[in-house]
Symmetry: C2
Subunit: 153 residues, 2 copies
C-alpha cells in the first residue's frame, strides 16, 4: 500500500547509480540493468522517459548511454517519481477533474489533499544526491533522526 511502482524504483536506482559514477561519460541502460538485475528493456523505457522529461541526456550509438542533465543535488525524488508514475495523488478521485463522479461523494479528499501536499513536500526535499552513497558512508548516528521534522501548524 502506498507503494512506489517498480518503475519508479528502477528510475531512482538508475539516477542514484549515475550520480555515483560521475566519471563515466555515459552509461548504457544495459550496464545499469545488469548491475542491479533489472529487466534491461524495462529500465530502458524508464530511462527514455526520464530523458524525455529532461532529467537525463541520452547518446545513441556505440558507447552511448545516459548521463544526468543536471547536478544530482538539483534533482528531487519527486521529479523522478512524477516523471515515471505521473502526478502524485493520494486519493483515487483527483479533485481537479470531475472529482468523484457520484453525488456528495468523497468529502474526504479535501483534507487528504493537504496530506498529499505534505508527502510531495517530503519527496521534493530529497535529492538524488541525498540518496547516493554519502548517507551510508557519512552519518551513522543519523538513523534515529528523521530526515524531516514534522510539526503541527
Amino acid at each position: 500500500m502506498l507503494r512506489l511502482t517498480k518503475k519508479a524504483d528502477y528510475g531512482l536506482m538508475a539516477l542514484k547509480y549515475l550520480a555515483e559514477h560521475p566519471d563515466s561519460v555515459s552509461v548504457s541502460a544495459k550496464d545499469i540493468a545488469d548491475t542491479y538485475g533489472i529487466p534491461p528493456q524495462l529500465l530502458a523505457k524508464v530511462l527514455q522517459r526520464l530523458t524525455k522529461v529532461g532529467l537525463l541526456r541520452s547518446h545513441a550509438g556505440m558507447n552511448g548511454g545516459y548521463e544526468l542533465s543536471r547536478g544530482a543535488q538539483t534533482i528531487s525524488a519527486f521529479e523522478v517519481i512524477h516523471a515515471i508514475d505521473g502526478p502524485l495523488f493520494i486519493t483515487s478521485c483527483t479533485k481537479g477533474s470531475k472529482s468523484c463522479d457520484l453525488e456528495p461523494s468523497c468529502t474526504i479528499k479535501e483534507p487528504l489533499a493537504r496530506v498529499n501536499d505534505s508527502i510531495a513536500g517530503v519527496l521534493k526535499s530529497i535529492s538524488i544526491h541525498d540518496m547516493a552513497d554519502f548517507d551510508v558512508s557519512a552519518g551513522h548516528g543519523m538513523e534515529s533522526q528523521p530526515l524531516v521534522m514534522l510539526t503541527r501548524a
Copy 2:
C-alpha cells in the same frame, strides 16, 4: 501513483461519516454506502475489517450497524489505512524481510525508508476528527497554511 486504494478511501469516508453523526447510535453499512454511492457489500467488508481491528463496534440485527469505538480525535488516518491496506511501505522491497532478492540491489530503500517514516508521521498526525466537516466550516484562511510544516533536520 502513490494512491490509496478505494477500500481505504471508503473506510476513511465511512469513519468520517460516523464522526459527523455522533447522535445516531449505530449506522448500517448500507446507509453509508447509499449516501456515498459505494458498493454496499464492499463497504461492509471494509467496515468488518475495521471492526475486527477494534476501530469500530458492530451491532447485528435490526437497527444494527456500526459506531466508533473511540473518539474521532483519537483515531488517525494511519490506523485506518494500515488496517485496510496493510503495512505502509513506499518501496517495493521491504527492508525487513529478504530485502531485494537480487544482488547489491536496491541501495535505494535505505534512504527511502526515511521518507516512508515521514509519510507515516503525516498520516499519524491526522485524525478522523481533523477530516470531518470542521475544517470546511471553520477555517477559511487555512487553505494557504499546510496541515504540517516540513523542516529539514
